[in-house]
């Protein structure tokens, strides 16, 4: 699905990613954990194609293509989806019109005809149920006046509509109460399939109780310093990140 090799990235001269490598195969769910400032969100931003970040070294192969040669919209059309940590409010742009346009461009890219109005609305009805998103919300301006939980549910709703091959969830659990967390996790779980991969970026283990990952990686100082299975997440929950930091410092000494 995606093969990240030794990427180094910086923003405004500040190095954030220092040789990060990660391989994700179809159907796998990878969780990326790490202390604040370890580079988790930078990884998401670099993969989605934010221009503020400069990639100085390394390569990313996404479904056989050089990711860095693709514009953000091309990445999306190839099947990448980023659920934002802070979804943007766009007053005046209707959620549904925007999704209709996005799906139309995606289908055009694949050489498909646009959905008919009925097909589109059926899809909206089906997918909004998935995250218990009120039909009214789906029809409002993008994220405008949405609560934190509604914004995150809207991200998963958009993900369900766009049916990506690789979904990157950037701290989707942050700011969610336990009910909203379960709704979001149920939504994600229902989208799991042998063809679809997930990279779940999170600070806390909590989300991983609902979305069981195949692999857990710890990011620290811009590199993956430890990888394991879901038990690693539990260990982190129990012991915090300090022991990992110590391990890294000792190894470097």
């Amino acid at each position: 699905m995606i093969s990240i090799k030794n990427i180094h990235a910086q923003i405004e001269g500040k190095k954030i990613l220092n040789g990060l490598s990660l391989d994700v195969k179809p159907g796998e769910v990878h969780a990326i954990m790490g202390p604040n400032g370890s580079g988790k969100s930078t990884l998401a931003a670099v993969l989605a194609g934010r221009e503020d970040y400069e990639v100085t070294e390394g390569s990313v192969d996404f479904l056989g293509k050089n990711l860095f040669e693709l514009a953000p919209e091309e990445r999306a059309r190839e099947g990448m989806f980023l659920a934002f940590q802070y979804p943007i409010e766009i007053p005046g742009v209707s959620n549904l019109n925007f999704l209709k346009a996005a799906i139309a461009e995606q289908r055009k890219h694949k050489g498909l005809e646009p959905l008919t109005a009925r097909e589109f609305l059926n899809l909206v009805a089906e997918k909004s149920k998935l995250v218990e998103l009120d039909g009214q919300l789906a029809n409002r301006s993008v994220n405008e006046g949405f609560s934190g939980g509604e914004k995150k549910r809207n991200e998963i709703f958009q993900m369900a509509m766009l049916a990506p091959k690789l979904a990157i969830l950037d701290e989707t659990d942050s700011g969610l109460d336990i009910d909203a967390l379960r709704i979001v996790a149920d939504g994600v779980n229902s989208l799991r399939s042998p063809e679809r991969s997930f990279i779940i970026i999170t600070h806390y283990q909590r989300l991983l109780e609902y979305i069981i990952p195949d692999f857990v990686h710890v990011l620290y100082k811009g590199r993956i310093v430890k990888s394991g299975t879901k038990e690693l997440a539990l260990e982190l929950e129990e012991k915090g990140y300090d022991w990992i930091k110590e391990e890294v410092e000792t190894a470097n000494a």
Binding site: A71, P72, E73, I90, L99, H109, L162
Partner: protein
């Protein structure tokens, strides 16, 4: 008092090209024409040293070669009409009323008279263009809705310019009598991309309890100059809305003066302008709150691309007696290019102490975070930008309450690839 006579080579030349033309107002308003001619002695073309014209250069007009040109050729006006609107249509070609192209019925309820009785509250002329319009008027029309009448049909006033060097100077007066209702649509278009100058004057009186809604749609070409002088007087309980939609045009100035001459009046003035290339659009507005308990709401939005320039000057004047005034003004602009320029100046002068007045103006670039968000869902750069432009001006477009008129304007914007639908 002795008048100072001002002469300049540009003015002499300009006037000499009009010397053989008799004002269309001469028969019915000889005194007004005399006053205009007298004013012309004292006025000259404004320079940018005059505050009101600080960002608005008129040299290309004052130094241009113009003449009064009647065009009797047949013109297909269907592209300029609004489908299914079923409006009465009054057509001017190069500023001259065209009986052949117009189609309307005039009755006692809604009367439309060409060259009929004029209306202009004052015989004073603030600038040379106003005086020129009256002194050398090409055609005058008077529209009037009678007391208690709700006009069945909207009226479309269509201005077409067709000829190189044409100077069009129509004079329009509208009288909404007590408790009447009327929807007017005024559009400015050009055929054949010839250089021309339209200097049009509009004088409106809204009587007690009357409602007038005016949509002004400006769709000219890069070679056209368009100057609109709109003077509006509103009486007690009157309700007036004007939407100024500048879709296209090389040089456009809208000078809008609204005088609230009574109590409990509501005045709404909205506008969009989307200049590009080297286009220039100027909106000068003045709302004069003279009596208590009136509301005015003003919302102008601009999207400027390439090397275009915009001007917004919004004056709200609240007289000492105008207590309990609510006056809101907002001008927001997006610059799409580094070479585009917006000059915006809100001016509030408040002499009453129990009022609510606010103004706000912003000029910025398109929100990069919003753009990235849209692109991350697969929308291309162009589509994402157009979607955000559409969102930006949508609230103003919805002030055009007639759906057919709004669709027409949106269609013209989409045709120019300025909006996303």
């Amino acid at each position: 008092m002795e008048a100072t006579i001002i002469t300049s080579p540009a003015k002499e030349k300009f006037l000499s090209s009009l010397a053989n033309h008799k004002s269309a107002l001469l028969e019915n308003a000889p005194e007004l024409v005399s006053a205009a001619l007298a004013s012309l002695d004292e006025l000259d073309f404004p320079t940018t040293r005059v505050e009101d014209w600080k960002y608005t250069r008129t040299a290309r007009i004052s130094n241009g070669e113009w003449s009064i040109i009647k065009n009797r050729n047949k013109i297909d006006i269907t592209p300029f009409l609004i489908r299914d609107l079923n409006a009465d249509v009054i057509v001017f070609v190069n500023g001259f009323f065209s009986n052949e192209l117009s189609s309307f019925s005039s009755s006692e309820k809604t009367s439309i008279t060409i060259g009929g009785k004029h209306q202009r509250e004052t015989k004073a002329f603030k600038n040379i263009f106003q005086a020129l319009n009256v002194a050398y008027c090409t055609s005058a029309v008077n529209i009037s809705v009678a007391k208690n009448i709700v006009a069945e049909k909207p009226i479309q006033i269509l201005h077409i310019v067709t000829d190189e060097k044409a100077l069009a100077q129509p004079f329009i007066s509208i009288h909404s009598e007590k408790s009447s209702q009327l929807h007017i649509l005024e559009s400015f278009v050009s055929v054949g991309e010839k250089k021309s100058f339209t200097n049009r004057s509009l004088n409106i009186t809204v009587d007690e309890n009357a409602q007038l809604h005016l949509d002004k749609i400006q769709i000219e070409c890069d070679d056209n100059f368009l100057l609109n002088e709109d003077n509006i007087h509103i009486a007690d309980n009157g309700h007036f809305t004007i939407n100024t939609l500048t879709v296209d045009g090389g040089w456009v100035r809208n000078s809008l003066n609204i005088s609230l001459d009574g109590q409990n009046i509501e005045a709404n003035l909205n506008g969009i302008f989307l200049p590009r290339r080297k286009q220039f659009v100027d909106n000068h507005t003045k709302v004069d709150h003279r009596f208590p308990n009136c509301n005015s709401n003003e919302l102008y939005k601009g999207i400027l691309d390439d090397q275009s320039t915009g001007v917004f000057n919004g004056k709200v004047y609240v007289h000492p007696d105008a207590q309990k005034t609510n006056a809101y003004q907002s001008n927001a602009n997006i610059l799409l290019s580094n070479d585009a320029q917006m000059n915006t100046k809100p001016e509030l002068e408040i002499y009453a102490d129990d009022v609510k007045c606010s103004h706000g103006t912003t000029t910025g670039q398109m929100d990069e975070n919003a753009l990235f968000y849209l692109k991350s869902r697969g929308l291309g750069d162009e589509s994402a930008r157009k979607l955000l432009s559409t969102a930006f001006i949508n609230d103003v477009l919805y002030k055009v309450t007639n759906e057919k008129v709004r669709e027409y304007v949106v269609g013209e914007l989409v045709r120019r690839e300025l909006l996303f639908v």
